[in-house]
Subunit: 405 residues, 2 copies
């Protein structure tokens, strides 16, 4: 292939990358609903599209110290919103978890086990693995509720203490889990952690930005949040909130020095390789959406979103083969259902399991996994009541078409 | 403050975050020129603004394995472009360096020193610090050229061998440095690394995407690139290129397992917490700009950019108090000059050092650090010849205004 041919091929492949999902469809993709940009974020995205666009007026070489645009003030407002002593922007919630575990592993070198709920996101497991730590899971009640009993945390802590001869390094709770969208109250677990004096991290990737969150009330030491998952931000960006007593650990300033140049970087944060990697679009869209995010997490609006999720469930639960998985009534909009009726149909359908997605797409609804007919995970977060009605009606119509009513 | 007052305050602060730098000014900000979006990237940015927008058709839970949009094909094309066996998208070049050093530290636990050029970016130092490694700098020739002598690499390698009783863990060269924009030929250093059998990393954050890069010709084991710095991408995104023999180390699949749930994640990459955090805008804009980036790094166009940088230098070098720092002629557009004439003026100017930025801004040019008059770092990369003329003319006019001609 000549250079010219290669160049022409690249132009054909990459010069027209389009996406019209949210223009043409009702999008119920479970990880996308909370991250859909607000109008203000869209405007900011266009203004700050260039990679280093937030750094025009960076004077200190740290994005968290930029005054214009008002990053410093924003981080204070975000801390106030989460009701936590400090926040730092991070690459993601997963990266925040990795950092917290790394920090604690240095602080408590004898402790080596992280206690997690058994519905924790896979990135929680990977944060443990990346730090060469061990895990101990808190069980759940299994089908149909998959409930976590807070008292089991104490049981597992004791088991770890027995096995390791040391306390767990960290206790972690997934506030709303990725699979069933179950909501867990952090407070009883916080009490247990305080009794044993173990740091407590709340992974709020699905909740902070969609549900009320109050770190002081929850009594958590760390909170990890996701801008692109639940705060209407263009990703990737996470927020790590932490108590004052961990300030020096999280904001660990660089101490390394050049042996010839004598260069040193005492204002740079080692945990984030100097400056949190959220230079342009991620941080500015998080900031631009922030007023809407604060508003939408107020109890009345959050309750309204739960009402939508429960409405859909109420309407579709009697469709043949449908089972609702997870705790009811829903607090968070992420919903997991088994659709055995659809799976039956798929066995003889010419499009096999793909027929489910096809049928919904035909009705202007998108976001389910292609090829999957036996279960469905979706989120109704932020849909209008009209869209909720349409989704519900479509579900029932599709079921009726295949005699599943 | 009531809740309503807080909400209103947030709307006022964050709902109108605007930026018109590139619309209203010629932007010579040294870290921004290579990251300015192409028209194609802008279109993609708007289409894929939402956080998880690239994941519509993710079937395997790994962004690097998505076929639509064509991420898989893009990564192959990127590898072809860099002429390296494999590439992975990463959060940033700095994160790529951290990962490579971590991987090598596990592979060669007895080796503990990274040999770096003394003009390495601060994030190179922080990657070393984050991995609890030591460093040994290769000196530079100092004022005015700050040249790195490749032969010094061998000297330092021998010193490390003497001091540690082990070879260095890694040798790193900054292809084009952040401070003087000096271009370094990797080949003689690659030869030394091969002689001693030490892995060699080229940090190409400033070069890959603006200058021709060929990893096979350079004989490097690893290359780290920056999408937002030099590949016209909305950040943050880096590209890590690596040789086949490091595949299993870089793509280290998760082995952790839930002790109760038995959950495991054998397709997730531990080094990137599962899936590289570049879910939407960062990767899609990198892809959309890629055809232009490939084109602009061809020798003729790269030479034209060098010509622009050298043209400006030729015109301004005789201004009173101006000294050009770094090697000449320029290969890369990043230019560092001492402006002692401006510093003299600043002593008695009512705006002190800020007058320099004021004067240039008045002439429609922006991007220099506020308050700094004694030196100046700028990049002419991608400016049109008309803009180059205007910048040169403006520089001389400002000098003349203050009798520095």
């Amino acid at each position: 292939m000549t250079k010219l041919e290669f160049n022409n091929e690249l132009v054909q492949k990459y010069s027209n990358l389009t996406r019209n999902i949210n223009e043409e469809f009702i999008n119920i993709h479970p990880i996308q609903r909370g991250g859909i940009l607000t109008a203000e974020a869209f405007k900011a995205l266009i203004a700050f599209g260039d990679g280093y666009s937030l750094c025009d007026n960076c004077l200190k070489g740290r994005i968290d110290q930029i005054e214009n645009p008002p990053v410093v003030g924003f981080l204070k407002d975000m801390a106030k919103f989460l009701n936590v002593d400090n926040v730092m922007p991070e690459a993601s919630a997963r990266e925040s978890k990795r950092i917290v575990m790394g920090v604690l592993a240095k602080k408590f070198p004898k402790r080596s086990t992280v206690v997690i709920d058994s519905l924790a996101h896979y990135t929680t497991y990977l944060a443990i693995e990346a730090n060469d730590l061990k895990l101990s899971e808190v069980p759940n009640s299994g089908d149909p509720e998959y409930n976590i009993d807070p008292n089991d945390y104490e049981k597992i802590i004791k088991e770890v203490l027995d096995a390791d001869g040391e306390l767990p390094l960290l206790v972690l709770l997934t506030h709303v889990d990725y699979k069933y969208g179950n909501y867990n109250d952090p407070r009883p677990i916080a009490k247990i952690c305080q009794k044993y004096n173990i740091p407590f991290l709340l992974n709020a990737a699905y909740s902070a930005g969609t549900l009320p969150v109050d770190c002081k009330e929850f009594q958590v030491d760390f909170i990890t949040c996701s801008g692109h998952k639940s705060m209407a931000a263009s990703g990737p960006i996470g927020i790590l909130g932490f108590k004052e007593n961990y300030y020096d650990d999280i904001m660990n300033l660089s101490k390394i020095q050049g042996n010839i140049s004598s260069k040193s970087f005492p204002s740079k944060i080692c945990n984030v390789m100097g400056c949190p990697p959220v230079y342009g679009a991620p941080l500015i869209t998080l900031m631009a959406s922030f007023p809407s995010v604060v508003k939408r997490t107020e109890k009345e609006l959050a309750d309204e979103e739960a009402k939508k999720a429960n409405y859909v469930i109420e309407k579709i639960k009697n469709v043949k083969g449908v089972r609702i998985n997870g705790k009811l009534p829903k607090v968070h909009s992420l919903t997991n259902i088994t659709t055995e009726g659809f799976a039956e149909v798929a066995k003889t359908h010419p499009r096999k399991g793909f027929f489910v997605r096809d049928e919904f797409k035909e009705k202007g609804i998108i976001g389910m996994l292609p090829g999957i007919s036996k279960d469905m995970k979706y989120s109704t977060y932020g849909l209008t009541w009209g869209q909720i009605e349409h989704f519900t009606k479509s579900f029932i119509e599709i079921a009726e078409k295949y005699n599943l009513n």
